[in-house]
């Protein structure tokens, strides 16, 4: 098969965002439901400004989205988004589909020639 180079742009951003343990912890926390930034900072034992750098990366990657929580940034509510996870899954699905198609063709060949 050819080299694996299928649409790595989005997956690139997703994996880069997931490469950091703090950000993975935040994703873990958000899997339980939306949370305000201040609560996330407390949970990962980080100051709000230190965590906000990570939250910015997560927002940019599209893994999470934030809802305005009034004037106080600590109250912004963070929610997990499905789409980037789906993109990563679909990359793996494409590798799977490649082989499923090849095996399907193998089967047709057998049935045609035997």
């Amino acid at each position: 098969m050819a080299t694996i180079d299928t649409d790595v742009n989005d997956i690139d951003a997703t994996l880069a965002a997931l490469a950091d343990p703090t950000r993975r912890k935040v994703i873990d926390l958000l899997r339980e439901g939306p949370r305000p930034a201040g609560e996330l900072a407390q949970a990962v034992q980080m100051s709000a400004p230190a965590l906000s750098r990570h939250l910015r990366v997560l927002r940019a990657s599209g893994l999470v989205r934030a809802e305005a929580g009034g004037a106080d940034a600590r109250l912004r509510l963070y929610t997990l988004r499905q789409q980037p996870f789906t993109a990563l899954q679909s990359w793996l699905d494409q590798v799977q589909a490649f082989w499923a198609e090849q095996l399907g063709s193998f089967k047709e060949h057998v049935e045609r020639t035997r």
């Binding site: 098969m1 050819a2 080299t3 694996i4 180079d5 299928t6 790595v8 742009n9 690139d12 997703t14 994996l15 880069a16 997931l18 490469a19 950091d20 993975r24 994703i27 873990d28 899997r31 439901g33 939306p34 989205r65 929610t79 997990l80 988004r81 499905q82 789409q83 996870f85 990563l88 899954q89 793996l92 590798v95 799977q96 490649f98 082989w99 499923a100 198609e101 090849q102 095996l103 399907g104 063709s105 193998f106 089967k107 047709e108 060949h109 057998v110 049935e111 020639t113 035997r114």
Partner: protein
């Protein structure tokens, strides 16, 4: 999640299935967008000299896989030579009612280095991210809020 599987059942015995899979790969291999290293020159594919080999119109070739196990009628394994990392493809042939079940497993997708496709150069590891992802994705499913 670091591996993918595909399977099919064919109405022949395992020894024949192994032979058709290997000897006749050029007859059944799908000529698709992702099938070739060099789509402009590729004219065929063959298992020969211990390699899975893509043949070119100018008489040249490129080895896309190195055979690690050649055990008819049961098992065939080759190492992917195109992508850095340690990917392996194993094909197992088992007798089942009505013929042979062929199970293909493509392993080691999480061993691809960060610069796969030459575009990812930020120093993170696919291994960590994909490994983590493998355990998390199912749980994250269905929690999309918008």
């Amino acid at each position: 999640m670091s591996s993918v599987r595909a399977s099919v059942t064919v109405p022949i015995d395992p020894a024949t299935a192994f032979r058709v899979f290997t000897d006749e790969i050029d007859a059944w291999y799908v000529r698709g967008r992702h099938s070739w290293v060099d789509p402009a020159r590729a004219v065929g594919i063959r298992f020969e000299d211990g390699y899975l080999r893509e043949l070119w119109s100018d008489g040249g070739h490129v080895d896309t896989g190195r055979i690690l196990a050649w055990e008819p009628p049961r098992r065939l394994v080759w190492a992917d030579l195109l992508n850095d990392g340690e990917m392996e493809i194993e094909v197992a042939f088992s007798a089942v009612e009505g013929g042979t079940e062929v199970v293909l497993e493509h392993r080691g997708l999480d061993t691809l280095p960060p610069d796969v496709a030459g575009r990812i150069r930020r120093g993170y590891s696919w291994n960590i991210a994909l490994g983590w992802f493998a355990g998390q994705w199912q749980g994250a499913q269905g929690r999309e809020a918008g």
